[in-house]
């Protein structure tokens, strides 16, 4: 059990070094291929190559492929010992991740409209659903203790389980994609989530389900290696952007590992800032409150710092639900509010703006650091929930 893990760590290190060196070499190619963006929070307007996540993602994929013989030894067929279950899961995970990488890159290149973006992770999770159906088709879930008297120890939720799997993939991919916009944030949050999952796996490695956690660990370490290298180039001042590719492929990696390792609820716990950001954003995403094209914080070039970005609208034009949501937000002091003759100015509802609202304008690098600190703190909270509190609802070993 120790040997493959050591090799995995070494391969993750090599993958880190390779990614670190390959990315700068490809920058020109990406710009030439029209894959670039202008950093709106800088005084210069240099072309910054976009979608470099496809590079870190691909190196991750190659690393995982090269690791196959280490994880499973050789000649399984002849030896008659098939770790069938684990083996199919492994290749399946690679297929799902590869599919998502392809679709993510196609999205970056072809610029798919917002609504169709939701479709892409659904399509990419098809292999997962199909193979899960064929190989395992165990759709039993353990019932939380307070409900066991009514429902029994476990119930078969059938089709709902597949819907849940598909939605988890859609959520994980898009959750990272909408908590974005300042240098280093997409890659940073993903690295923190991956480290959280890896820590959780390490703890559980001594438990009865160690195989599933070992499986997850094999994926997380090379993921952390390649993504850290990407983060280094994406950190303030970013010399590359990660692209939708990266958000998609990262989200899919977490979803796949969570589902196949049977710890998807715990995975979701590590997404707390993303869940909060999604809920907080939803009034704008679902158009209850007007949503400008970009909700990024505003760059103040004189002070070289990031400020609240705002949206302006007539209060009377909102519908009842919109007014209600705004009332709740004001009650909990989650909103910057300025009103004059019925015209309201509020901040855009993102976790980034909320951070600026509470901490005041600040330098971009500091903003990213604070947001990542929030991510780290919420991982701590997740462990608190997972371990002491979970025993209230489930029998935890």
């Amino acid at each position: 059990m120790l040997f493959p893990l050591v090799v995995n760590i070494i391969m993750a290190l090599i993958a880190y070094l390779v990614t670190l060196r390959v990315i700068p070499k490809l920058k020109e190619k990406f710009i030439k291929a029209n894959l670039f963006g202008i950093d709106m929070s800088k005084t210069t307007s240099d072309k910054v190559p976009e979608s470099l996540g496809v590079v870190s993602g691909f190196i991750f994929l190659v690393t995982m492929v090269l690791f196959i013989p280490v994880a499973f030894g050789n000649n399984l067929l002849e030896k008659g010992t098939f770790p069938y279950d684990e083996y199919v899961k492994y290749i399946l995970a690679l297929l799902s991740i590869c599919c998502m990488l392809l679709l993510g890159f196609a999205d970056d290149v072809l610029d798919v409209p917002w609504r169709q973006k939701l479709l892409l992770p659904t399509i990419a999770s098809l292999p997962l659903l199909m193979v899960y159906y064929v190989s395992f088709n165990t759709t039993n879930i353990i019932v939380p203790k307070p409900l066991q008297d009514y429902l029994g120890l476990s119930i078969d939720i059938g089709l709902i389980y597949y819907v849940y799997m598909g939605m988890l993939a859609v959520f994980c991919t898009n959750a990272i994609n909408i908590l974005a916009g300042v240098n280093g944030l997409e890659a940073g949050q993903s690295v923190v989530i991956a480290i959280s999952i890896a820590l959780f796996n390490l703890v559980e490695l001594s438990g009865p389900l160690w195989k599933a956690h070992q499986f997850s660990l094999y994926f997380m370490l090379p993921y952390i290696g390649t993504s850290l290298a990407l983060l280094k180039h994406n950190w303030y001042p970013a010399s590359v952007f990660v692209g939708d590719t990266f958000c998609y492929f990262s989200g899919m990696t977490f979803a796949v590992v969570g589902i196949l390792g049977h710890f998807s609820k715990t995975t979701l716990l590590f997404f707390m800032p993303q869940v909060f950001n999604f809920l907080y954003s939803s009034p704008q995403l679902f158009k209850l409150v007007p949503c400008p094209r970009h909700r990024l914080p505003k760059f103040n070039s004189r002070e070289n710092c990031m400020e609240l970005s705002t949206t302006t609208f007539r209060y009377s034009e909102l519908n009842v639900l919109g007014k209600l949501v705004l009332g709740v937000f004001r009650l909990f002091k989650l909103v910057h509010w300025q009103e004059k003759q019925g015209v309201v100015v509020t901040n855009n509802f993102t976790l980034i703006n909320l951070t600026l609202l509470y901490c005041g304008p600040m330098h971009e690098a500091k903003l990213t650091s604070i947001l990542l600190a929030i991510q780290v703190l919420s991982t701590g909270l997740a462990f608190l929930i997972r371990y002491p509190f979970a025993s209230v609802f489930y029998d935890v070993q």
Copy 2:
């Protein structure tokens, strides 16, 4: 055995219709993303969207994923009956094809230099090599009858088998890529090859290795469906180009199916025109004779027909090997030759030019038709070789 095949045919039909309808809708998006080319053999200079092969390839992939439950039923784990072998092969084939599709598309977008192109299929065949090593690792080959007295019935060629697998993938992908340049040729030849493989599978379906051929058939039919739809849009006058993506992914599909179905030698037989074209091209590819940037036939806009394209050089500047090759080509009348004061004009060495040399200038659509007819004829020849003649070398059932 019949039911899944019927479903496969129906799904191939649906995939054909979907591809046919989706391609025109995406044309604008591809042009906007800078993925387009100008057709050099037309009087107009419209932008023709490039790399649409990624669309047909992706629809093929989705079809194959959706077919998984039909091919394997459900709940294999619980039933305790694992067609482990077949199942792993299936997912593995999808992974290899998906990898190649990703790399091919990246190549089209980023424009990888010629030499690195050879690397891409090698990388994409890594999953195949790794999983083959772990699951099967049977590197025995049957020795041809005349050699059996010396080598025995079969020998284990070990590592060489893996080199062979990797090289087959590289060959198949690039062979299609270099027999290209007139509307409909890349997609057309691939469809003919796929139909040839499917016919061969159908014949062998009654043999002892029917499982492997059924496996191949499952892949070939949806492949033919999606590629036919692409061909329809790529046929003269082409409204889309297929891109390197298509050549790569097609070659990989044939290689994977041939390797995992254990009929890679027969697969190669269906590549005879490509093998000839490669050998015939090699003096230019390896720079024994000067090689212009484009070797496409020349478009005569006045007559609206395709003519020989030529290259000009001083005979005295060739090295011995170059002179030798040219001598052989002249001996077998494989070359258009014009010499004046030591300056030689020859045609470019491609099968397309050779066809024009023998049949004279002709319309582009006719040229493609003749080349595809050659492909069909060589399939006939391949069956002749495979069935009557193979019994000289192998015990054929």
